[in-house]
Amino acid sequence: MANRRQTTEKSMQAMFFIIATASISILFLIMLFLFKEGLPIFKTVSLKDFIFGKYWYPTSDPADFGIFPLIVASLLVTGVSGVFSIPLGVMTAIYLSEIARPRVSEIVKPVVELLAALPSVVIGFFGMVLVAPFLQRVFDIPTGLNLFNASLMLAFMSIPTICSISEDAIHSVPIALREASVALGATQLQTIVRVVVPASISGISTAVILGLSRAVGETMVVLMVAGGAAMLPQSIFDPVRPMPASIAAEMAEAPVGGEHYYALFATGIVLFIFTMIFNIIADFIAQRYRQVGEASL
């Protein structure tokens, strides 16, 4: 009896362990397929020409597979979106956890969550039909579908990520630290700026990196709003073609097993590596500088 129970226990534990490795297996499969379908492109184009090549004309003859403009576009769009999303996200987090009364934050928190829940295609659609004409009129530019518009829309996609993770970090700062600061005569603002934020800076950094990582990988918004020109932009109002947009737009017409198909998977590899680096850095910061008790500042 007891023996059978033990066998059941052992096999249950083994089963759960095997299932728990599913995430890693999927991640591994993703990498496997990206490389399997992406690496053949390097038979025709060298790695250096692929990454630093300035021309992306995948359908012309002979085709040019240089994704440098796409990489630059992805980085620029993400960077400019960070200009909006980082201050807004972090300030909202500070407001929610330090300033707002519980009753207010009970309303604001779900609002931020619902903002996160808006489908990306809806935000892209909004940027396309309402923000683009508006920008075109106000700034008197040839097209409203450009780097700036895409960054603005992306910012609102990454704010919820930045806000909720920062808020967790700020929330985990021990109350004793705040009390100590206030007891020394600091105002609440001084306490926030000099004690609470420094104490939670690693969590806030993790939040920012994850938010930016989301912006790099976001597809529908940049597909619909960024304008789609695979050139190096001269100004913030130039249309661009970030990597995810290029993959999503061209995959449908790229024949399976052709050079274009391989090139798009290779672009996927680059994108994957980008977000992977972001995530590993975030994970590293979160582990390395984790707040343990009150003495680790």
């Binding site: 599913a22 309303i107 603002l189 597809t219 619909m224 994108l271 977000t275």
Partner: protein, 326 residues
């Protein structure tokens, strides 16, 4: 935005008022802080002013988020509510998608997102059970968590590429509900694991100890005690997972959704139309983009209602659960 204004805190500690200050100014300054400490003179006044200025800035940041959400929903509803009708919800698109309804898209989205959860929920719950109930801290757990975190960070379009390479081509499912749902399922796995773990963590250890103390094995404890208590939390996570899957476009573009198909799916190996992809198609590649604008808004409203409705349900439910646990 009265939504974000707060009531004033009681002014307990304000006792030593130097008479020189104008009362009105004093009042405006103390409005926004919970006064912990009462200093005196100009220094104190200046830093109070600075504090209220910064607090208003923080408040404005929070308000911008709310305004963004309201603006988006307002414009969608204001421009699209006329498109919503019984016919719109129950008819297929007609005349090369310039008229008619979106029934196939609704059905397709429901199939894809429920399929995704059917695939992801068992795996996600089992993973969370392992991580929360069985695993001991160490390298293996660290690795599994790193895998989950990284999976959560994989861009949606890369999931699409993976689904295309693996499910559609290698497993030969073709562009189908099965391939799309499995791709979406892989994508929502981290969400499910995260929310299930949270639900398991909220079950008090005393429950487990009581069960083990009565002689139950670990598995019996998990199955009869821990899981039933965690079930509402797990279901909340599942609803959030479904809504996430329903709103995604990039992963299904190459794996499950097609431009147009007149008939409703009869098997999981049929291709389908989907709401998010339909919006994208109508707005960027339709035959007459301007003329179908109202259809685009209408589809967007249906998608928003579906996704936000499920989210609000989950948020409301979770809030009630948390209150009960306290």
């Amino acid at each position: 935005m009265t939504l974000f204004l707060e009531t004033n805190p009681p002014e307990k500690q304000r006792s030593d008022k130097s008479a020189a200050e104008t009362k009105a100014k004093e009042k405006a300054m103390s409005k926004n802080d919970r006064t912990f400490f009462e200093g005196s003179a100009a220094y104190d006044r200046r830093r109070k002013f600075k504090q209220s200025a910064f607090f208003n800035l923080f408040r404005a940041a929070a308000a911008i988020n709310g305004m963004a959400l309201l603006t988006i929903i307002y414009f969608m509803v204001a421009n699209g509510w006329r498109a919503i009708s019984w016919e719109f919800l129950t008819q297929p698109p007609m005349e090369s998608m310039t008229k008619g309804g979106i029934l196939p898209c609704i059905v397709g989205t429901v199939c894809l997102s429920f399929g995704a959860i059917l695939a992801a929920l068992p795996i996600g719950i089992a993973s969370a059970i392992y991580l929360n109930e069985y695993a001991r801290p160490g390298k293996v757990v660290r690795l599994i968590r790193l895998g989950i975190n990284n999976l959560a960070g994989v861009p949606s379009v890369v999931f699409g590429l993976f689904g295309l390479g693996f499910f559609v081509v290698i497993l030969d499912m073709g562009v189908s509900i099965a391939a799309g749902a499995l791709t979406l399922g892989a994508m929502s796995l981290p969400v499910i694991i995260g929310s299930t773990e949270e639900a398991l963590k909220s079950v008090p250890d005393t429950y487990r100890e009581a069960s083990l103390g009565l002689g139950a094995t670990k598995w019996q404890t998990i199955w009869r005690v821990v899981l039933p208590s965690a079930l509402p939390g797990i279901l909340t996570g599942a609803i959030l997972g479904i809504s996430r899957a329903a709103g995604e476009t990039a992963p299904i573009m190459f794996t499950g959704a097609v431009f147009f198909t007149p008939k409703l799916p009869t098997s999981i190996f049929n291709e389908v139309m989907a709401l998010p992809y339909h919006i994208y198609v109508l707005a960027t590649a339709g035959t007459e983009i301007e003329k179908t604008r109202h259809l685009q808004y209408g589809t967007a409203i249906v998608l928003i209602a579906l996704v936000l409705g499920m989210n609000m349900l989950a948020i409301f439910w979770r809030a009630r659960l948390r209150k009960r646990l306290k």
